[in-house]
């Protein structure tokens, strides 16, 4: 019967890039397929497990090393429909979980802006979502994990067992071992719909005004910001807030029709320019006519608006793009975030997907977890070469000055000195790194 061994099919390729498609690297690819014969790969080279490569920078790359792909390691191991604990292999995606769990009344406790990420990746980056201010990060819901390390032992780790290794693995960028499976605690819901409110705001001050009341009344909050408009339109955007719908099924709208859109090839570099970016931002702001809209929405358009466009990253052409996310603590009159945003808008190199949100106080178990109390800002930059790198360094210095931090899975340019300042637990974390595991990001941090 047909089956395939891992070792005989190794190959080196430059096809496995990160979502931002910068940098371009060459790596050896191997596959993890079965739990029953999972072995730590034998090689002189370093290893890094990889899910779907949705990290934007180089944290999911291992230049000249081995990437252990979990694409084919995608199976459920158990689902307790009474308690809502689902056990799955690292390659299961958040979409897979929603497909299985929602019909039984369970939902993801935390979800990032795409469902095309694996559970392994969600843990390794300790991802967060629109409900961070009440729910914390994905790592808060990992009840147990199995970690394969280079001593070829499988470690079962949890908040009660091998606690330090557990804490290091959550948000640990895949450096502590290969996650084989995890138990995720889901949350109970009535349906996959949300009762949402969408409010236009014309300035950052107005955003903070709306934000003040929203955090208490709504479990999910996020804002889209126009990052192309200066002058009187500076800081305008749309505030989105929602709760799980409590409506009966009979009152709910129909599931949205899914139109699959694909970006089949890299767009030429002139597609995105100041004019098209401005036009997009203008259109997005004005697609909502009235100041306040209230409606019940399906989770797909609410959580994953970009997932309908497959391979949307290719819009940025073969040069790729930079994604940027920082968090800065709240201060007097929110000076810090305003200054960061002003620097971005004035650079005129931001693109269309700027997102603003307030993180809450819920603490993640992860040693290297990114979210911290404060305001987080996230956006794309078109790759304009040196100019963009300079801007990112200016922002990095600004954020450092404001005692904020940056998100490794969305970074391509950060300097090691800044990383060490952002993550004071780093020395503690290093004790748990597996000596055979490394990544391009990790080497960059140690060498700068």
């Amino acid at each position: 019967m047909s089956s395939s061994s891992n070792s005989s099919n190794d190959f080196i390729t430059d096809k496995y890039l990160s979502w931002g498609r910068i940098p371009k690297v060459s790596q050896e690819i191997r596959y993890l397929e079965w739990l029953s014969d999972a072995k730590f790969p034998k090689s002189e080279k370093s290893i890094l497990a990889r899910g779907l490569g949705r990290s934007y920078g180089d944290s999911c790359l291992n230049e000249n090393g081995i990437l252990l792909s979990t694409e084919l390691y995608r199976r459920f191991l158990d689902f307790d429909e009474k308690t809502g604990v689902i056990r799955c292999t690292a390659g299961i995606t958040l979409e897979d979980i929603l497909d299985v769990a929602l019909p039984k009344g369970w939902f993801l406790p935390v979800s990032p802006g795409t469902k095309f990420v694996t559970v392994g990746g969600a843990i390794a980056n300790d991802v967060h979502g629109k409900n961070h201010h009440v729910a914390g990060t994905f790592g808060c819901y990992v009840k147990k994990m199995a970690l394969l390390r280079s001593d070829n032992k499988i470690y079962e780790i949890s908040p009660n067992k091998e606690i330090e290794l557990y804490k290091a693995t959550i948000g640990g960028l895949g450096l502590t071992g290969i996650i084989l499976w995890a138990d995720i605690q889901l949350v109970s819901v009535k349906s996959g719909f949300f009762d949402g409110e969408f409010i236009k705001f014309s300035s950052l001050d107005e955003f903070f005004e709306i934000n003040k009341e929203s955090g208490k009344k709504f479990d999910y909050t996020v804002s889209w910001l126009d990052c192309a408009s200066q002058g009187e339109n500076f800081g305008r955007g749309i505030y989105m807030r929602a709760n799980h719908s409590q409506k009966d099924f009979s009152e709910l709208p129909k599931d949205p029709i899914k139109l699959p859109l694909i970006v089949p090839f890299n767009f030429p570099s002139w597609t995105l320019n100041n004019f098209t970016v401005k036009a997009f931002n203008f259109a997005y702001y004005n697609k909502q006519f009235s100041k306040f809209v209230k409606k019940t929405v399906h989770y797909d358009p609410f959580f994953y608006p970009l997932d309908v466009v497959k391979d949307w990253n290719k819009i940025y052409g073969k040069n790729g793009f930079y994604q940027y996310q920082c968090v800065v603590p709240r201060d007097d009159n929110d000076k810090a975030i305003k200054e960061v945003f002003k620097t971005i808008v004035e650079s005129r190199s931001a693109s269309f997907l700027a997102v603003l949100k307030e993180f809450g106080e819920v603490k993640s178990p992860g040693m290297l977890s990114f979210p911290a109390p404060g305001i987080t800002l996230c956006l794309d930059f078109i790759n304009l070469g040196e100019k963009t790198v300079k801007l990112l360094q200016t922002l990095e210095d600004l954020v450092k000055g404001f005692n904020g931090k940056m998100y490794p899975s969305k970074d391509t340019c950060m300097r090691g000195s800044s990383f060490r300042a952002f993550y004071p637990n780093l020395n503690e974390f290093k004790k748990y790194i597996d000596p055979k595991i490394s990544s391009s990001f990790w080497r960059r941090m140690n060498n700068s």
Binding site: M1, S2, S3, S4, N6, N9, D10, F11, T13, K15, I29, Y31, E33, W34, L35, S36, D37, L72, R75, F76, L77, D78, F79, I86, D99, V100
Partner: protein, 246 residues
């Protein structure tokens, strides 16, 4: 709800196809070589919604004497199954088979003879019951022989012709026979080759097989553009074709 017997259930295409049936709450009898892997596939199907999953280890599909017994056991476990899918097959090494025919015979036994044996047993059962679905993975490589893989091509071509004849016979008994002809499927075996536009994901191929079974289709080229490619390939005159390097 269907009661499905799947041979070669740990193959990638099998896993991806069966997932879709599990969501319909179907019951399964999975046959494969490795018990632990079969159990992993089984558990996944259960979580996805399968009503019942049984596994059976069969080390050698060419142990022909055991075939009837295996089918009987499946029939008992599922109390009369009505769907029979065959996913297994080997690619073989063309050069080695050219030099050592015993290797070619092994491939022909696995890919064609053993499948024909299993399917014949099941065909008689379904014919009597006047219902049932048979789906077998053949290949576009069986549509025309090429110098680079004609042993494999012959095994799949033979299989396609066998299924064609069987379809004709069973059409009078309300039994559907589906011949699946996948093109290039991205698997660890093909990963080192360029993943060009011709390569489809196993996930996609699995979905198309699921739909074809439900629609009682006869022949499925998947992805469908392979029908067009093979139409052209089949119509190249032999005097030209024999000189081509394919």
């Amino acid at each position: 709800m269907r009661k499905i017997v799947a041979l070669g259930a740990t193959s990638l295409i099998a896993q991806e196809t069966l997932k879709n049936f599990a969501k319909d709450k179907d019951s399964f009898f999975l046959i494969g070589r490795n018990e632990e892997k079969l159990n992993e596939v089984a558990k996944n199907l259960e979580v996805l919604g399968a009503s019942e999953v049984n596994v059976k280890v069969v080390k050698d599909v060419c142990d022909f004497k055991a075939h009837q017994e295996i089918i009987n056991e499946a029939d008992k476990m599922l109390s009369n199954f009505d769907n029979f899918f065959v996913f297994y097959g080997v690619l073989g090494n063309q050069k080695e088979m050219e030099e050592d025919f015993s290797k070619a015979k092994e491939l022909l036994d696995v890919n064609f003879i053993s499948v024909a044996s299993f399917v014949s047993i099941v065909a008689n059962k379904f014919e009597k019951e006047k219902r049932g679905n048979i789906a077998v993975i053949s290949s576009v490589a069986g549509d025309r022989g090429r110098q680079s893989n004609y042993f494999y091509g012959a095994s799949k071509g033979g299989l396609s012709v066998f299924l064609e004849g069987l379809r004709n016979r069973l059409s009078f008994s309300n039994v559907n026979v589906l011949t699946v002809k996948p093109g290039f499927v991205a698997t660890p075996m093909t990963a080192h080759r360029e993943k060009g536009l011709l390569f489809a994901s196993a996930d996609y191929v699995g979905k198309t097989i699921y739909k074809a079974v439900k629609k009682n289709k006869n022949v499925l080229y998947t992805p469908c553009f392979w029908w067009g490619i093979m139409f052209i390939v089949k119509h190249i005159p032999e005097c030209i074709f024999k000189k081509m390097k394919m």
